[in-house]
């Protein structure tokens, strides 16, 4: 068991390495660099620009630049941001924490709703609940997440019930804990809902079909034959059996949610990794973008590993095959 996990961790590290090489190369090949704007400025001479480039090491060939970046990562600095003029690491951590908070809450909300709603649809298969739910999820699925975010923003502006951005609106120094908590919660509300709404349609469809398949299986019929009451049958007998495919979906949705959150943060001005990476892309601040890409990949890999471990714990048949 430990050996299996160790192997996975090793593979993941290799994967991260590969992603870093690929991303770095791709970003470097993209046209433009940080100093293009400066070049536009007639007051700054080309020699100054050139010397700035040398100072930041942009004149070096690609492999050298990569190795220098990797060394910086190893030192914990994660490169140097040219816009902010400091090591990227100092920019990253608190933003990463905010993104994690947002993504985790959205995940919990999305899965809770998807499970309840999916089970409901499966139970009333073919009925009006099922049909109207499927229409609703189709609409949600078709809407781009950008649009969902903007619509919620519109809601906030028009009604004034929710703040339109940021994480806090109060001076954190002289307010009590519960006020701070409420403040953050009310700021969290829209981004979490936006993210969850983007994720729910796919999840609920899978839950529905997994439940339908299980509810039609012989062992559920046998359990009905033993007189197991309906609700116990669903939650204690059917749902665990359906969890096999759902846990695989969990791994996938963690990754998807990670990347989706960046977009939502930008639209709803949540101070996470999203706005950071947008700035970095626009300014060609390579190291900032690299750091965000690596963190997203890490999030994806950890999420999938977690899902695999969960599957191992949840499904005894997989334990049987085992190492």
């Amino acid at each position: 068991m430990i050996s299996k996990v160790a192997l996975r961790v090793f593979h993941s590290l290799l994967l991260l390495l590969g992603v870093s090489v690929f991303a770095f190369a791709l970003l470097s090949f993209a046209p433009g660099n940080f100093f293009d704007e400066l070049k536009m400025n007639p007051q700054i001479s080309p020699e100054t620009v050139a010397s700035l480039k040398v100072q930041y090491g942009l004149d070096q060939p690609l492999p050298v630049r990569y190795v220098r970046w990797a060394a910086s990562v190893a030192h914990g600095e994660f490169g140097y941001s040219m816009s902010y003029r400091r090591p990227v690491a100092s920019l990253l951590w608190w933003r990463a924490r905010n993104t994690l908070l947002l993504a985790t809450l959205a995940m919990l909300l999305a899965w809770t709703i998807a499970l309840c709603w999916g089970v409901l649809q499966a139970l009333h298969r073919g009925g009006w609940i099922d049909h109207s739910s499927r229409a609703l999820t189709a609409v949600l699925l078709a809407m781009p997440e950008l649009l969902i975010g903007l619509l919620l923003l519109l809601l906030a502006v028009r009604t004034g019930w929710f703040p339109t951005g940021g994480m806090t609106s109060i001076n954190p120094m002289n307010t009590g804990f519960s006020t701070k908590l409420w403040d953050i919660t009310i700021h969290l509300f829209l981004p979490v809902v936006a993210l969850a709404l983007g994720a729910i349609p796919v999840l609920v469809r899978h839950v529905r079909s997994a439940m339908i398949a299980v509810l039609e299986s012989p062992f559920i019929e046998a359990a009905r034959g033993h007189g197991i009451p309906r609700w116990r049958l669903i939650w204690r007998h059917a749902l665990p059996a359906a969890s096999n495919s759902l846990i695989s979906l969990l791994g996938f949705s963690i990754g998807a949610l990670g990347s989706l959150s960046l977009l939502t943060e930008i639209v709803l001005s949540w101070p996470g990794l999203g706005p950071l990476v947008l700035e970095g892309v626009l300014a060609r601040d390579i190291h900032v973008v690299m750091a965000t890409v690596m963190l997203s990949s890490l999030f994806l890999l950890v999420g999938n590993l977690f899902a695999d471990l969960l599957l191992y714990w949840a499904d005894p048949r997989i334990r049987a095959v085992g190492p």
Binding site: F219, A223, G225, G227, R230, D315, P316
Partner: protein, 328 residues
């Protein structure tokens, strides 16, 4: 012996392809007495599995069920609401399915699966249910010195062991009637023997009535006291086992028993052209005939057989048969 269960006039239809209906049961009647083992003999398409599900009201929503009555312990099961029926299932009438590997939940421990049945009906707390389940698993001879069977999962057990778990589940709440639908078809012969012995021992010991459904006449010998033969959704013959097997009245029963191969090692009759069989195949359940369902394949059919359906006739006071050869 007094009657435990009396069912009559059961009709079950499913919607078939192209708007036609599939007639699974065509006025089937069944009677089971207290403490007896009744064998229900039939081939695929005869309605034997459908009748089992009908008694427990476990038919899918698409099935249409009509019937005169299913009288069980003073109540008509056809008239019960789903809530009331759920209390009957598992507690008073229990079912053992054909393929135990499919009938057990793959992600739940087998001990828990027995406990679940007790929790649903017995009114004990979970601690007591678990303890009683362990005892019951021991009683069905599921013991492994190396590992607690309670904690095992179905895929870790052999087919025979899985079926023992199913038997434990069915006996968990001490029902009056156990319905076993082809309980040994998916097992190899050695295990089949063991399971049948176990069933017989338990039902005798606890005075539980057993409805044993099978397509193989051989397994009923030494186990069932009476046998009912099904064809085309009806019971076409029934009576004491020795009588039906030694002096079958209905041509279908005669033909079916003729298909049972002689014991191994007997010299093959030289004159026999191949194995005995029943020509043709079972009636397409989508077609409805006005006459006897077996007529097209019957070697002794008469003109009237294709026109009218025979009525049940009593033979020798203890048996019944539906065939114009005996009146009806």
């Amino acid at each position: 012996m007094q009657a435990l269960l009396q069912a009559s006039g059961l009709h079950v239809q499913y919607p078939g392809s192209q708007g036609k209906a599939i007639h699974a049961l065509n006025g089937a009647c069944l009677e089971l007495r207290q403490g007896e083992v009744l064998g229900l003999l039939g081939e695929s398409g005869s309605g034997k599995s459908t009748i089992a599900k009908t008694l427990l009201r476990l038919l899918p929503a698409t099935a249409q069920l009509t019937g005169d009555r299913i009288e069980f312990q003073g109540r008509d099961l056809l008239k019960l609401r789903e809530q009331e029926m759920q209390k009957v299932r598992g507690a008073q009438i229990a079912m053992i399915w054909q393929d135990p590997g499919q009938a057990l939940n793959p992600v739940m421990k087998v001990g828990d699966q027995v406990t679940e049945v007790m929790l649903a009906h017995r009114g004990w707390n979970s601690r007591r249910c678990r303890d009683e389940s362990e005892i019951l698993l021991g009683r069905v001879q599921l013991e492994n010195p190396e590992r607690r069977i309670y904690d095992a999962y179905p895929h870790q057990l052999s087919g025979g062991q899985q079926q023992r778990v199913a038997i434990a589940q069915s006996l968990a709440c001490e029902p009056s009637l156990v319905i076993a639908d082809e309980p040994t078809s998916s097992l190899d012969p050695e295990t089949e023997d063991e399971i049948l012995h176990l069933l017989r021992a338990f039902t005798a010991q606890r005075k539980v009535s057993l409805l044993l459904i099978t397509h193989d006449p051989k397994i009923l010998i030494g186990l069932a006291s009476r046998v009912a033969v099904m064809y085309g959704g009806r019971v076409i013959e029934e009576g004491p086992l020795e009588q039906v097997f030694q002096r079958p009245n209905h041509p279908y029963t005669q033909a079916l028993l003729n298909c049972v191969p002689p014991p191994p090692g007997e010299p093959k009759p030289k004159s026999q052209m191949g194995l005995p069989t029943i020509p043709g195949s079972a009636l397409d359940p989508e077609s409805v005939s006005t006459g006897c369902a077996f007529a097209p394949r019957c070697s002794q059919r008469m003109e009237i057989c294709e026109v009218r359906r025979p009525f049940p006739v009593d033979v020798e006071d203890t048996s019944r048969v539906e065939c114009f050869l005996h009146g009806g």
